[in-house]
């Protein structure tokens, strides 16, 4: 069956909502995605019929809940292309996954060691490394970007950015602002050549691209459930099995232990070593179903739809006088993902602030995000304080893009009239 967006939309109850007289055009999926009915239903069924704690409970409900939780892990592992299910650690979101990486990888860091990130990272892939460097005295270094919003690999090479002192390199796979798809394998090769560990923030990649973590070059990949049609309250860290086996624990508590003695404790093998306390059980059930839902649609088709809708949006949006897209406007597998950030000005050159744009768009049924999108250093690098972002997903229609463009023109003209 071919990819039928209207049919797919019927799976998402919220897409029927209206905002006043307008249909809802939800163009904020890079912020969080909507959920298909099957995902919601799976969690309801879990709570109504199978709820129990996992691992520790061995009665009927406990066995059902444990099996459901581990099935969630297996589905997610298969979806992201992991070699084994026990390479997937469940966390509460991508941010926790990145903090786990920073704490566990970073335990032995010392002054002189270097951690490398990029100026286009989300705050969740910046602050954990800043805190790590503050704790250990290591130095944080940054990839810069080129004017079209790609990583400036030439400058990095010239600066010897990745060198013998580099211990960790952490890079976003797909930018949540620019949509840039970064050359993970290439950077991973550089990192590995100097003995550094390669961490990848896959929060925007896993929902949009066919992800094969085992072949990506990465050692650790963070992702988050709510952006991939799954529930809130769950994310994950994939790690190469041999690396996970070596890493010390981060959060301590029930379930991550082997033997707890008053004199000290030993820890369970991965993934349990990194899952302290009662995990997000119903959420793992929901995320497993979300992964299956995406796999059934076919990630190649999802990605193709994302490219098509992004191309359409780029084309129509750029016809608007006063609208400037940030970063690259090339679409394609190596091109960009489905997030378009832009600035808007009136015909007489007054910048319309993203908040004002957002409020106007909202009043016309169009949900976008305005601000720095948790990427303030990137905005500073681009010389602006904020932008407006429209982001698309597997359920986005061309008609919603049209609604966006119309609302943008109206907004621009409203602010222009005031001149």
């Amino acid at each position: 069956m071919s990819y039928d967006v209207e049919l797919i939309r019927a799976d998402f109850p919220i897409l029927e909502r209206r905002v006043g007289e307008y249909p809802l055009a939800y163009l904020d999926s890079a912020n969080t995605s909507q959920k298909p009915q099957v995902v919601i239903d799976a969690m309801v069924d879990h709570y109504e019929r199978h709820n129990a704690n996992v691992a520790r409970a061995m009665h009927v409900l406990g066995a059902e809940a444990s099996a459901a939780y581990e099935a969630g892990r297996e589905k997610v592992a298969a979806f992201i292309g992991a070699d084994r299910a026990d390479e997937v650690v469940f966390t509460k979101n991508a941010s926790e996954a990145l903090n786990l990486a920073a704490h566990s990888l970073g335990q032995g860091l010392k002054p002189g060691d270097e951690v490398v990130i990029t100026v286009m990272e989300h705050h969740s892939n910046i602050v954990p490394w800043q805190l790590l460097c503050a704790r250990t005295g290591a130095t944080l270094r940054w990839f810069d970007i080129t004017d079209d919003g790609r990583l400036d690999l030439a400058k990095a090479a010239a600066e010897n950015l990745i060198n013998a002192n580099t211990r960790i390199v952490s890079v976003g796979w797909v930018s949540n602002v620019l949509g840039t798809v970064n050359p993970i394998a290439q950077i991973a090769a550089q990192a590995h050549a100097v003995g550094a560990v390669m961490v990848v923030d896959g929060a925007q990649a896993v929902p949009q691209l066919t992800t094969k973590v085992a072949e990506s070059g990465a050692d650790l990949v963070a992702f988050t459930g709510h952006k991939m049609v799954g529930p809130t309250g769950i994310g994950g860290l994939w790690g190469r099995h041999d690396l996970l086996t070596e890493l010390p624990p981060f959060l301590g508590g029930g379930e991550m232990i082997e033997i707890v003695r008053m004199t000290g404790s030993t820890f369970a093998p991965p993934p349990y070593r990194f899952e302290a306390g009662t995990p997000p059980i119903a959420e793992a059930v929901g995320l497993g179903v979300a992964a299956d839902y995406l796999a059934e649609l076919g990630m190649a088709d999802v990605a193709a739809h994302e490219r098509a809708i992004t191309a359409y949006a780029l084309e129509t949006m750029q016809q608007l006088d006063g609208l400037a897209v940030l970063g690259t406007t090339e679409v394609g597998p190596e091109g960009r993902g489905g997030a378009i950030s832009f600035t808007l000005a009136t015909r007489d050159g007054l910048d319309i602030h993203p908040h004002d744009v957002m409020t106007f768009l909202d009043s016309r049924g169009v949900a976008v995000r305005g601000g720095h999108h948790c990427a303030r250093p990137l905005h500073e690098r681009l010389g602006i304080t904020a932008s407006t972002r429209a982001s698309f997903y597997l359920y986005t229609l061309e008609r919603e893009i049209d609604q966006l463009v119309e609302a943008l023109a109206y907004t621009r003209d409203f602010f222009g009239r005031a001149a």
């Binding site: 007054l350 319309i352 602030h353 993203p354 908040h355 004002d356 409020t359 106007f360 909202d362 009043s363 305005g370 601000g371 720095h372 303030r376 905005h379 304080t385 904020a386 409203f414 602010f415 005031a418 001149a419």
Partner: protein, 148 residues
């Protein structure tokens, strides 16, 4: 209430032409306030002369609501006693938290009454209060420095 009605002419005028904008010397205190969810920032200075607000100068980035509100605020408080200025802060804040249900007093709030419409948009209330909060903070610090 429509979004168009919320963006009153007064607000857009102040956005286009911010009164008292720019940083000036001398000043008794300087603060930075931020709306972390959206990145709006204001760096604001207050200079007192006795208990009168002699000057308010600022550098701000942000939306039309936060910019215009800061501009209106500076018009209102400069030349007033600190006590009166803080009373205005109170009155403005109360209006913004009224969900638009308060009848604002044009005699005291002057151009500030244009923001009554914003009070109906909870997501934007913080924007309108950014400059005012910065002023309150800076004025308190300027007073404290004076006294110590």
């Amino acid at each position: 209430m429509s979004v168009e009605a919320m963006y009153q002419e007064i607000i857009l005028d102040h956005y286009r032409e911010k009164h008292h904008s720019g940083l000036r010397e001398p000043y008794g205190a300087q603060v930075t306030h931020v709306n972390p969810t959206c990145g709006d920032e204001v760096l604001l200075r207050v200079q007192l002369d006795g208990d009168v607000v002699a000057d308010v100068s600022y550098e701000a980035v942000g939306c039309s609501i936060s910019q215009a509100s800061t501009s209106v605020m500076s018009d209102l408080v400069i030349g007033r006693s600190v006590a009166d200025a803080l009373a205005l802060h109170e009155e403005f804040t109360e209006m913004m938290h009224s969900r638009g249900e308060l009848e604002p007093d044009e005699d005291t709030l002057e151009d500030g009454i244009a923001f009554i419409g914003v009070a109906k948009f909870p997501a934007r209330v913080k924007c309108a209060l950014l400059g005012w909060s910065a002023f309150k903070d800076a004025a308190a610090q300027a007073l404290a420095t004076k006294e110590s």
